[in-house]
């Protein structure tokens, strides 16, 4: 079959091709990443020194809110879906996703949903300003008019995510080539199928809670109003029932990426494949029963605090299994340190730091002090930036030859790595200290005593922002004028996409099922 593909705008608008859709997801998420990043720059500029310099407090709150929402729903999640689209069909020997038209719909909803969300910046009263967690009553009684558009935007993102997740899960369960048994699947596929399960289970709950917000705001219901017999804390429970699995939705695919890349550059089989699968599944299941650790200070019966504290700490066990497995994979391997490997190793180390601060936060009595401080900000940025985003970055470097047929410039890749590695630590490590010393999050001004830590963090953040523009430059340069890549540029790489397909992968792969060893 000739490798023809439709051309022009119609190729992208009407496509049913998983590679086109994957590329659109990845580019979309990068654009969102830059927009959300620009907002982070505004935040860090304001926090460069104490006092109010550049923006008024209400706009500062809009920036923190929009930064969070855009990064979570616009940058990290779509980038993972983009990777899933590109890789899963090739890795399991399928011709495409199971439901290709729905796949296209899932993607095209997103640009419209984020247009709606970003329009809120220009509405009267400004954008949502209550934090990305949109707690009631800040978002119900006191939310600006644009909150309604935020709610409907979240509905659109939810529809997109649920359809995307259904597509992944059906692809994996129904489209595997004969012989590709479940326990032979690459770990990236495993982590994504578990992620998809989480998405299907919790995105509807998010839809439910924003619907309650909408009716509380406009139709007189009292879900989150104690005078009517409801409870603002009910909002937090339902939100975090979605919100905690959500953080695993963002990180599990990155676990999968690390589990592909580390064996490739250690030139060894992944240590403990089966335990990796079970650990991922345990993390996912545990994620349903730990949500209230986000709410220790809100006032809960002691039995509740104890239960959620212990359940949360249990998650450290399967997570530890994964970290030990990655390290054991590297143990006595013939390691080389190309850019994807560097990002993957940094991922393991820095994600573990984020995991440890997570265990600290899990302890209810200790959390009373840390709650809503910069320590929390440091914690979740450590799992999200050097966790999820380094994971995606590693994946882009690793699979870029497969996608484009071109090799990136190794030297520039290494510069990008060390630049981001230093900048990310400079940005987020000082936040641990300012947080432990009591600096509250989401406040545009702070006590003089936090000035040094904040200056360091701001300088780091500007450098980190620039490093992402450099990344963009590297990718564009690779696509336009990169050296042609061999079909298998990494000697240790395994999987159908490396062993049976050339670089770049043809527009249509696997018309009939490939042979799986």
């Amino acid at each position: 079959m000739a490798d023809h593909h439709p051309t022009g705008i119609k190729r992208w608008l009407f496509t049913t091709n998983h590679k086109d859709i994957g590329s659109m997801y990845l580019w979309f998420s990068f654009i969102m990443f830059l927009i959300g990043g620009a907002m982070a720059m505004v935040i860090r500029a304001e926090l460069y020194q104490p006092g109010l310099q550049f923006v008024d407090p209400n706009f500062f709150n809009q920036m923190t809110t929009m930064h969070g929402l855009i990064m979570v729903f616009g940058a990290v999640m779509p980038s993972m879906v983009g990777l899933a689209n590109w890789l899963i069909p090739m890795q399991i020997g399928a011709p495409d996703m199971a439901l290709p038209r729905m796949n296209n719909w899932s993607f095209w909803i997103l640009p419209f949903a984020f247009t709606l969300l970003l329009l809120s910046l220009f509405m009267e009263g400004g954008a949502p300003n209550f934090g990305w967690t949109f707690y009631a009553p800040l978002s119900t009684t006191y939310g600006p008019p644009s909150t309604d558009f935020f709610i409907l935007g979240v509905h659109m993102m939810g529809i997109s995510s649920i359809m995307g997740a259904i597509n992944v899960i059906v692809t994996v369960f129904n489209m595997r080539a004969p012989g590709m048994t479940l326990m032979k699947m690459p770990l990236f596929v495993w982590t994504w199928v578990i992620t998809a399960f989480l998405l299907i289970m919790v995105m509807p709950v998010l839809a439910g809670v924003v619907t309650m917000m909408l009716t509380d705001r406009h139709f007189g219901t009292s879900f989150f109003d104690a005078a009517g017999g409801g409870d603002p804390v009910l909002f937090q429970h339902i939100f975090w029932f979605f919100g905690h699995p959500e953080v695993y939705i963002m990180i599990l695919p990155a676990f999968g990426v690390a589990s592909e890349i580390i064996p490739a550059f250690a030139r060894k089989k992944l240590f403990g494949y089966a335990s990796m699968v079970y650990a991922t599944a345990s993390i996912a299941l545990l994620s349903f029963i730990v949500w209230a650790h986000h709410m220790f200070t809100v006032g809960m019966p002691v039995a509740g605090e104890l239960f959620f504290m212990i359940a949360t700490m249990l998650i450290a066990v399967p997570t530890g299994v994964k970290v030990f497995n990655w390290v054991a994979t590297m143990w006595k391997g013939s390691m080389t340190f190309e850019t994807p490997m560097l990002f993957a190793i940094a991922f393991v180390i820095l994600f573990t730091i984020g995991g440890f601060s997570g265990v600290m936060l899990a302890m209810a009595p200790v959390d009373f002090q840390y709650h809503d401080t910069y320590f929390v900000v440091a914690h979740f940025h450590y799992v999200l930036f050097p966790g999820a985003i380094f994971g995606t970055t590693a994946a882009v470097y690793y699979w870029l030859p497969k996608w484009t047929g071109k090799m990136y410039n190794e030297k520039m890749g290494k510069i990008h790595f060390w630049w981001s590695m230093i900048a990310v630590n400079l940005t987020f490590f000082p936040m641990h200290f300012s947080g432990l010393a009591g600096m509250p999050r989401r406040i545009p001004d702070y006590n003089m005593m936090f000035a040094e830590f904040n200056q360091l963090a701001s300088i780091g953040a500007f450098a980190l922002g620039l490093s992402q523009l450099f990344f963009l430059y590297i990718v564009i340069q690779t696509i336009r004028s990169g050296k042609k890549s061999e079909d298998k540029p990494w000697d240790g790489a395994t999987g159908l996409e490396w062993e049976q397909l050339p670089c770049p992968a043809p527009y249509h792969t696997f018309d009939t099922p490939p042979k799986v060893k």
């Binding site: 729905m102 949903a113 309604d148 899960i169 099922p513």
Partner: protein, 299 residues
């Protein structure tokens, strides 16, 4: 690209390009943008006046209907011309199953809200646990009892009984599940008359259910003072039964379309995914109702 397996396995099927997804994305955007304006203009909370929201919403809705009609028409045409492999059929089935799972979780959020409000919040507002001061200082008059016919804020209402209309509605839905199963068995046995008759009966039962539900809402609003604004009891009552009613509406439309397709002879005993999907959806709606009947009406 391997060819050795070509003879052993059927070829993969990947559908042609389609313009429906982008039409659907535009439709959803107009629905959301118009809907937001429509809501604000209707409630007038932000002094946002005019009728622009309603118009955009209506255009979005029309585009969505057009999209669904066109998209499914293409799918039906492709299915009827035998393009779909058995693998495609399994993809549809599994996709529907996971879609229904996500719907279950949507209802779970509202049931969760109901249980939390009733089992935990209500006693707390009445002073239980360490909440004695909340009760004494904020709402000393509040007596915790379910159905909460008087809220802490003082709004009063009457509760909906279980054994009038709701019991009849339960019987209707249970019967409809039974008639649908008869129809489905007839489909598998290739008995088209029974299939058509019982599918139409099921759809009719759905319509009757909806009419009774509308009557129940009318009674609640006009004679019982039970509204969305009647505190947490009214909120959970109307949101749960309302979303269920919305799903019954969708299911009924689904069944009506299936009746038309049965009459046109679209389904074969071995190839009738769409019909089965409709049946699954209907049974799901039925099960949700049983939970509603127990937790919203009886208990």
């Amino acid at each position: 690209m391997s060819t050795e397996t070509e003879e052993k396995y059927e070829r993969y099927y990947v559908p042609e390009q389609s313009h429906w997804p982008i039409v659907g994305a535009i439709g959803l955007f107009l629905l959301a943008f118009g809907g937001g304006n429509f809501i604000q203009q209707t409630t007038g909370k932000y002094g946002n006046e005019g009728s622009m929201g309603w118009i955009i919403f209506a255009i979005g809705f029309a585009i969505m209907v057009y999209m669904m009609f066109g998209w499914w028409k293409d799918t039906v045409r492709e299915s009827m011309s035998g393009l779909y492999s058995s693998q495609m059929d399994r993809s549809f089935r599994q996709g529907m199953m996971w879609f229904i799972s996500s719907e279950v979780m949507f209802f779970a959020a509202f049931f969760g809200g109901l249980f939390y409000a009733r089992v935990l919040v209500m006693p707390w507002l009445g002073g239980e646990g360490n909440n004695a001061m909340t009760h004494a200082l904020l709402w000393p008059e509040f007596i915790p009892a379910w159905p909460m016919t008087e809220t802490p804020g003082g709004t009063t209402t009457t509760a909906m009984g279980a054994f009038g209309l709701p019991a009849i509605n339960t019987a209707i839905l249970l019967t409809s599940s039974w008639t649908l199963t008869i129809a489905h068995h007839a489909l598998i046995q290739g008995n088209r008359n029974t299939l058509l008759n019982y599918t139409v009966i099921t759809a009719l039962l759905g319509v009757i259910f909806l009419c009774l539900q509308v009557y129940e809402y009318y009674e609640a609003y006009e004679h019982m003072g039970l509204t969305l604004g009647s505190g947490i009891y009214g909120s959970t009552f109307f949101m749960l039964t309302g979303f269920h009613g919305l799903h019954v509406t969708v299911g009924t439309i689904f069944l009506i379309v299936m009746s038309i397709r049965v009459a046109k002879g679209h389904f074969k005993p071995e190839n009738h995914f769409a019909y089965e999907a409709g049946a699954w959806y209907w049974h799901f709606v039925d099960v949700v109702w049983l939970f509603l009947f127990i937790f919203v009406y009886i208990l």
